[in-house]
């Protein structure tokens, strides 16, 4: 095992020696044990030992970054020199900096040590459970892994962190089959630090399997209507990701192309919407503890009760724009639950669509989206009826956030996010 604090100290010294005014080092060791299932059968067991050394330097306002996966003295020296050469190739920009000494902390969390026999048993059990409870499902690929990560961050301004964590990740990709008929594929993901519960009970795995089994027989939608889209966590997360990137992220604020650029402190969404970036929430497994720029991670609200409270900006773009820096860079999004049970929300929809997955063009800064509603169901007169195929949906991200019909009481926590089911209006649904 490498002494990462020694690696970090040697790296900062090498960067200084090479001429850096300010320097930063992140050293990381990752040990992965992973079981793979392909086409419904166990196929592979792999064990990976990887290292990562990421150096950044600022000299005369010019910044460079270099990363390698070696820790020996000669590699550190060469990487430091390369880093300064990369910096020299750039332009001076006063906005580049590293975090001041705001914290000096050490963290241990999750399940750092793998219990491989139990992990294999749980994986086998999941295969058995799926076979028994969802016999039409064919597992295209299942990846079950334990990751143990040791990392150290240090910069020349005095910020220093060390961390040890471990977690189990379960990724499924599957479809349902009956003779030559099949559903579209669907993916489920869960991150956990415990092997106490059967995997099929985690996240939305069981619900996802059941829904896909009901999507073998589909019909194309006849005609076109404007109605309600019911977004379960699987597609809600995709829409929120696009929305935050296009309205609150680094690029669009740096460009000045964000539609929200002048909306800080103003209402941008229905008052029932509260969106937090919260890596320290107990439902987030092994969430971020410090940012890549050296700041301690804190939870914050992007939108609170419909009001834009914060952009999601890096320190660099914060300095460029004069807008506040985001308090973490985790992507651990939590959307607060509503007060209606999902069954009541469905019962209240006269005509709409359940969108399990969205396959569409990446929405641009206008927020317009258009694409195929995959793994979808038609909702008519308060009931989920038939599964749909070749059905397009379109709308605008900013508009649907202001056109909320209901937010469910139920949420799905998959270890990386916590999301409810959201019903939004004003979505165009079009068949062939």
């Amino acid at each position: 095992m490498h002494d990462l604090k020694q690696v970090a100290a040697a790296s900062l010294a090498a960067l200084k020696e090479a001429g850096a005014d300010k320097a930063q080092c992140t050293a990381r060791c990752t040990e992965t044990h992973e079981f793979n299932v392909d086409g419904g059968k166990f196929s592979l067991f792999r064990t990976l030992f990887d290292n990562s050394l990421a150096l950044a330097a600022i000299r005369e306002g010019r910044r460079g970054t270099v990363s390698v996966n070696r820790f020996d003295g000669e590699s550190i020296r060469q990487t430091a020199e390369n880093c300064l050469a990369v910096a020299a190739s750039g332009e001076a920009d006063a906005a580049w900096d590293f975090a001041p000494e705001t914290a000096n902390a050490s963290f241990t969390d999750g399940a750092p040590e793998a219990d491989l026999d139990r992990l294999f048993d749980r994986t086998e059990e999941l295969m058995r459970d799926i076979g028994a409870r969802h016999p039409k499902i064919l597992m295209e690929q299942m990846i079950v892994a334990h990751k143990k990560v040791t990392s150290v961050y240090e910069n020349s301004l005095g910020a220093a962190y060390s961390r040890l964590y471990g977690c189990y990740e379960i990724e499924l990709m599957f479809s349902a089959h009956e003779g030559e008929k099949s559903s579209s594929f669907f993916g489920s993901y869960v991150c956990t630090d415990s092997l106490d519960a059967p995997f099929i009970t985690l996240g939305s795995i069981e619900e996802d399997l059941a829904n896909v089994e009901r999507q073998i027989d589909t019909v194309p939608l006849d005609g076109k209507f404007v109605g309600v889209a019911l977004l379960p966590p699987s597609s809600l997360g995709e829409f929120l990701g696009s929305l935050l990137e296009n309205f609150a992220g680094d690029s669009v604020l740096l460009d000045g192309t964000s539609l929200w650029k002048d909306k800080l402190g103003q209402r941008v969404a229905d008052p029932r919407i509260t969106l937090s970036a919260a890596p320290l929430d107990e439902r987030i497994v092994c969430g971020e503890r410090y940012t890549g720029e050296g700041y301690p991670s804190e939870n914050y609200d992007v939108i609170r009760d419909g009001v834009l409270e914060s952009f999601m900006l890096s320190d660099y773009v914060s300095r460029k724009t004069g807008l506040p820096r985001a308090k973490n860079a985790s992507g651990a999004i939590i959307m607060h639950s509503g007060d209606k049970p999902l069954s009541e929300i469905i019962a209240g929809i006269e005509r709409g669509i359940w969108v399990g997955r969205f396959s569409g063009g990446e929405p641009g800064t206008s927020g317009d989206f258009s694409g195929v509603a995959k793994n979808s169901f038609l909702i008519e007169n308060g009931k989920i009826t038939t599964a749909l195929s070749e059905t397009m949906i379109s709308g605008n991200l900013a508009e649907i956030l202001n056109n909320v019909v209901a937010v469910s009481r139920e949420t799905v926590a998959d270890g990386s996010s916590v999301l409810p089911y959201a019903a939004v209006g004003g979505v165009t649904v079009a068949g062939k």
Binding site: A87, L138, I143, L254, G361, D368, V372
Partner: protein, 462 residues
């Protein structure tokens, strides 16, 4: 370049099982200028060794971030232990032995070097300065200079070994504007291909004409219209035909996805396209020239040859690993590739293209009374059912056989094996693209290409 610590260490591989041993180095550089701000200036290099062992129908794999004799011994031992664990706990003894490959050696590659980061940065700054000066009214602009490479030394217990390298390098130019009604619009273009950055980019001025064309298209798009939604007669550009070949057809005929339930499982030997459509996954040579990203040896020790997939509209083959080739009774063609030293080989496409026909693009446009010529795309997704969705970022309406107004962003969708049956004209010119990564557990550089196709396809409208 890598020192060869692999060939002599092949003796460490178990003698009673198929096994592979690989050393690999990946390098990349990326310089990003956004609105003149140098927001990214990074270099990356990773290297290490890995081994994979096959026992009773299951694999064990291990990797280590170190290129040394000790690391080689460790990964061979760990991979065999993992294979034995799986052979004990979850064997598939009914699987056929993996497909045999005669022993041989691929000639070593010529050494290559990356230019200094300054070369990338200076080139990107020159392009950015040209755009900033000539087109000051743009809402924003982004210039990216990038390269990546994989270098591998492979030894296998049975099959071909060798030393291969595949550098590629690109420049991306993004231009942003607004429509007359204030809607943000964007177009981008890519330059480059296989080879080092210095080889592909010598003179910034050689790119100006294409940048001017991109700006002209952006100005046309400012006045653009949304197409009418519904099934239309369209001409897909070579770029879109290539995406169709890769996303909507290629993935469904990767043998691991066939075993995972793709639509192609039931289509072998059947008609899946009109007789004007043929599709090949090329290895290293296509149409008498090197492919955009030549592959000569895969990571299971199979020398790369072309995989014929669709011949005159009939599905005739899959892309295989040695394991799936044995399952389907096919010949492996070198499709099992790994992205990094720590990745196991997966079935991947190399250079997948629809073959050219005999039609001229001008005749194809003239043949459409009411439809669209769809040219550029920014993304595409497809299902294992063959249902696809592609974003379309630029195109023209066609009215009475003539190009009309430019189009705003839209989407096209359909089911590949149904839509391909509507192809009734195929142009005589193939356009290749190779700058992207295919995503399937691991990223992988791939080439994709095709001629213009006339077909019926669902257009999303607004």
């Amino acid at each position: 370049m890598l020192d060869d610590i692999i060939t002599s260490a092949a003796k460490l591989l178990p003698s009673d099982a198929h096994a592979e041993l690989r050393a690999q180095m990946n390098r990349s550089c990326r310089v990003t200028l956004r609105g003149g701000n140098l927001i990214g200036n990074a270099k990356n290099e990773t290297s290490g060794v890995s081994a994979r062992v096959y026992r009773r129908g299951v694999y064990g794999f291990s990797s280590m971030a170190e290129c040394s004799a000790d690391a080689v011994a460790s990964v061979v031992r760990a991979a065999d232990e993992n294979a034995r664990f799986m052979a004990r706990r979850a064997p598939s003894p009914d699987k056929a032995p993996i497909a045999p490959i005669p022993a041989s050696s691929i000639p070593a590659v010529a050494p290559f070097t990356d230019p200094e980061q300054k070369y990338y940065a200076d080139f990107a700054k020159a392009i950015d300065a040209y755009i900033a000066e000539k087109y000051p009214s743009l809402a924003s602009r982004t210039v990216v200079a990038t390269s990546d490479s994989m270098e591998k030394i492979l030894a296998v217990s049975d099959g071909a070994g060798g030393h291969t390298a595949s550098p590629r390098s690109y420049m991306y130019v993004f231009l942003n504007g607004e429509t007359t009604s204030g809607t943000p619009i964007e177009l981008y273009t890519v330059f480059g291909g296989s080879g080092t950055y210095e080889k592909n980019f010598k003179d910034p001025a050689s790119m100006y004409e294409e940048i001017d064309r991109l700006y002209e298209h952006l100005m046309q798009k400012r006045e653009g219209i949304y197409p009418d939604a519904g099934e239309k007669t369209c001409i897909l550009s070579g770029t879109l035909a290539g995406m169709l070949a890769h996303e909507a057809v290629g993935h469904t005929v990767e043998a691991d996805l066939v075993l995972g339930g793709s639509v192609a499982a039931h289509c072998l030997g059947k008609r899946v396209a009109s007789d004007k459509v043929s599709l090949v996954d090329f290895a290293h040579t296509a149409f008498g020239r090197p492919t955009p990203l030549p592959v000569v040896l895969d990571d299971e020790g199979t020398p790369a040859t072309d995989a014929e997939l669709i011949r005159d509209g009939i599905l005739v083959g899959y892309m295989n690993s040695r394991e799936t080739a044995a399952h389907f009774g096919m010949t492996p063609t070198g499709n099992a590739r790994a992205w990094m030293f720590s990745d196991e080989p997966l079935i991947r496409m190399r250079n997948t293209a629809i073959l050219p026909g005999t039609d001229k693009l001008a005749d194809m446009i003239a043949s459409v009374d009411d439809g669209y010529y769809l040219i550029d795309t920014n993304n595409g997704q497809a299902d294992t059912t063959g249902e696809f969705m592609f974003g379309v970022t630029f195109g023209y309406e066609i009215r009475g056989g003539k190009l009309g107004r430019a189009l705003l962003d839209t989407t096209i969708s359909g089911v590949a094996f149904e839509m391909l049956k509507t192809v009734d004209m195929v142009s005589d010119t193939v356009k290749w693209d190779s700058s992207g990564f295919c995503g399937k557990k691991q990223p992988m550089p791939v080439g994709l290409g095709g001629p213009e196709l006339r077909c019926r396809v669902m257009v999303g409208g607004k």
